[in-house]
Symmetry: C2
Subunit: 352 residues, 2 copies
């Protein structure tokens, strides 16, 4: 059995003082700013406190009080039978883990198929929850109905244009820009953005696609947008089949950037079925990064959404609202950065 540092083996300032090689009182002074301590010692102490997890523990303690039960409202039909729902499912798993870690009980909402503010609030009250997380839904009526209540509410993975409730989401626009910029940097000029008429968060990926062209002073006409009829792989296949048939080939496009891995999976299948080599003839890049890399042949280059960090940020946002420091504060929208995962389907990078 490996000698892992147990998560909370009562680490105190005594441990920190030993680790930093300073007196107990010095640690206290550094942590509270109660005496002038040289920068050199300060840094050493803080480094030790951070390393031992003492700073994190202390910070956690400040927040832990207010949230004991979280009421979770998810639109029905988010079971993992395709990639999009795999995203949902994985995000919910991350949220559960985070709650477990912090000793927060989760109660799931069950009501009418269409989420409804009154029902959700009633359910949350019945469950004696201090906070509500609404996931994957941005029905304005729903959000407006929730905003007025005394229970803290956060929207996860959605968009509230009225900015009446706090929101946590991946940085869709910047992530899409990142992927497109990477393709442009690797010499691609004609990139096809395969998307669908989804929720507004998906539209932000389209914005980012255009941003990348604009930033290089390239005409956005070089890139084209292809709208599939939905987000299933089959929709991607259909759209690309029609595209290739109509244009009599790839029409000069050398890359497809898909607004979701789910579409990318369909794109890989269809393009290969049509006889194109990936990435030699055409590169394919996805968005989400939830499915394992070896799920596809070739493996999928994609933009990974930081699910664990999203879950943590969700709880943190709620706890801050509940702590009272944040009442009467304007609603916050928190977007977390996404990373490009370079695998095979995007081709190898010529940039540093």
């Amino acid at each position: 059995m490996p000698l892992e540092r147990r998560p909370d083996r009562k680490i105190g300032i005594k441990d920190v003082s030993r680790e930093a090689g300073v007196a107990l009182s010095t640690v206290s002074h550094v942590l509270n700013g109660t005496a002038p301590i040289s920068q050199e010692v300060r840094v050493r102490v803080l480094e030790a406190a951070r390393k031992l997890g003492y700073l994190a523990k202390r910070q956690r303690k400040g927040a832990i009080a207010s949230l004991s039960t979280l009421y979770l409202a998810v639109p029905p039909g988010n079971l993992p039978h395709n990639d999009i729902n795999l995203v949902s499912w994985t995000l919910l798993t991350a949220l559960s883990r985070e709650c477990e870690r912090r000793g927060i009980r989760i109660v799931a909402h069950s009501g009418a198929p269409q989420l409804n503010a009154t029902e959700i609030l009633a359910g949350a009250r019945a469950a004696e929850a201090e906070a509500i997380a609404v996931v994957f839904d941005d029905n304005p009526k729903l959000l407006k109905g929730l905003a007025g209540s005394d229970i803290a509410v956060v929207l996860l993975n959605g968009e509230d244009p009225t900015m009446s409730i706090d929101t946590v989401a991946p940085a869709n626009r910047y992530g899409a820009r990142l992927a497109t910029e990477w393709l442009l940097a690797n010499g691609h000029r004609r990139i096809l953005h395969l998307t669908w008429r989804g929720r507004s968060t998906i539209m932000r990926r389209l914005d980012g696609f255009h941003d990348a062209y604009l930033q290089r002073d390239l005409s956005t006409d070089l890139g084209e947008v292809l709208c599939a009829k939905g987000y299933e792989p089959e929709h991607a296949r259909e759209a690309l089949r029609a595209f290739v048939a109509e244009r009599g080939g790839l029409d000069g496009f050398t890359a497809v950037f898909c607004a979701a891995d789910n579409l990318a999976i369909g794109a890989l299948t269809e393009l290969q079925a049509l006889g194109f080599r990936i990435p030699a003839d055409i590169a394919v890049v996805g968005f989400d990064g939830v499915a394992p890399g070896d799920l596809t042949q070739p493996s999928l280059t994609t933009v990974r959404v930081p699910l664990d960090a999203l879950a943590a940020a969700t709880i943190q946002a709620l706890e801050q609202r509940l702590s009272g420091a944040g009442r009467d504060q304007p609603a916050a929208r928190i977007e977390l950065g996404c990373r490009l995962i370079e695998r095979e389907s995007g081709g190898s990078s010529i940039v540093g």
Copy 2:
């Protein structure tokens, strides 16, 4: 002298227990989740703790350790001789106040007119600062240069498309959408968006202008964008003078939504000089909300940016990075909601 509650008169759980009318031990159990307490009592205790500022104090204590000196890098030329720079100035004032409140020392960067990562990092090290706030600048080279360092960095009021450093900014897109939506709800259909080729954050206001039309399924062609040559009131006057001359009048437009109060001030002056009544002939709405309402005649309806909250969020973002809980976490972009301040120039609202 009013009997104000002094900010930190040693409020402890004893005070909370008295306020909530429960035992000392019960308060402790509620705050730490160490015993099952009825929801009713929990709520009463937390409410008391929040009211007395104990929750906030406890949370503050968790964060306070790591940041003692903040290094502030502002591009030169942000003195308040016009509204845009009044925004800068007021935001910096809010940041100073927030730092003072928390006992954080601010050291201002002074270097070459063009901010430069190497210089800023050297300056921050010399000042023994744990964190750097870059304000109003989104030169990608600068941000990239700062991202790699061991010092915590936050960008205030800017945009980092690479998402390599944390950013705090107003929700420009949603704020602009809010104002435009308000005008549309009040019956305006042809709205002129007066802007200039500014930083990307200003372009987000343009995005929001379009969003409002799209959301109502109105053609974005109903709205038009008029680009002034800069953000001074005089630029607004010039642009509107040319517009009216060219179109032989207001050309059916009934509202001007300006991307900054500074432009709105020029718009009010020019439109009135041309003989139009505000808001009867044409409504004018601004963006920023920093200048006093009675600065203009008529007073300016505008979107107010939450400066104090931005300052607080900036410090909080830095402290979280420094606490170690947030290392290796993806960069966060935090946008705070803006509110519409209804005064005279926008006309009176017919919506609830």
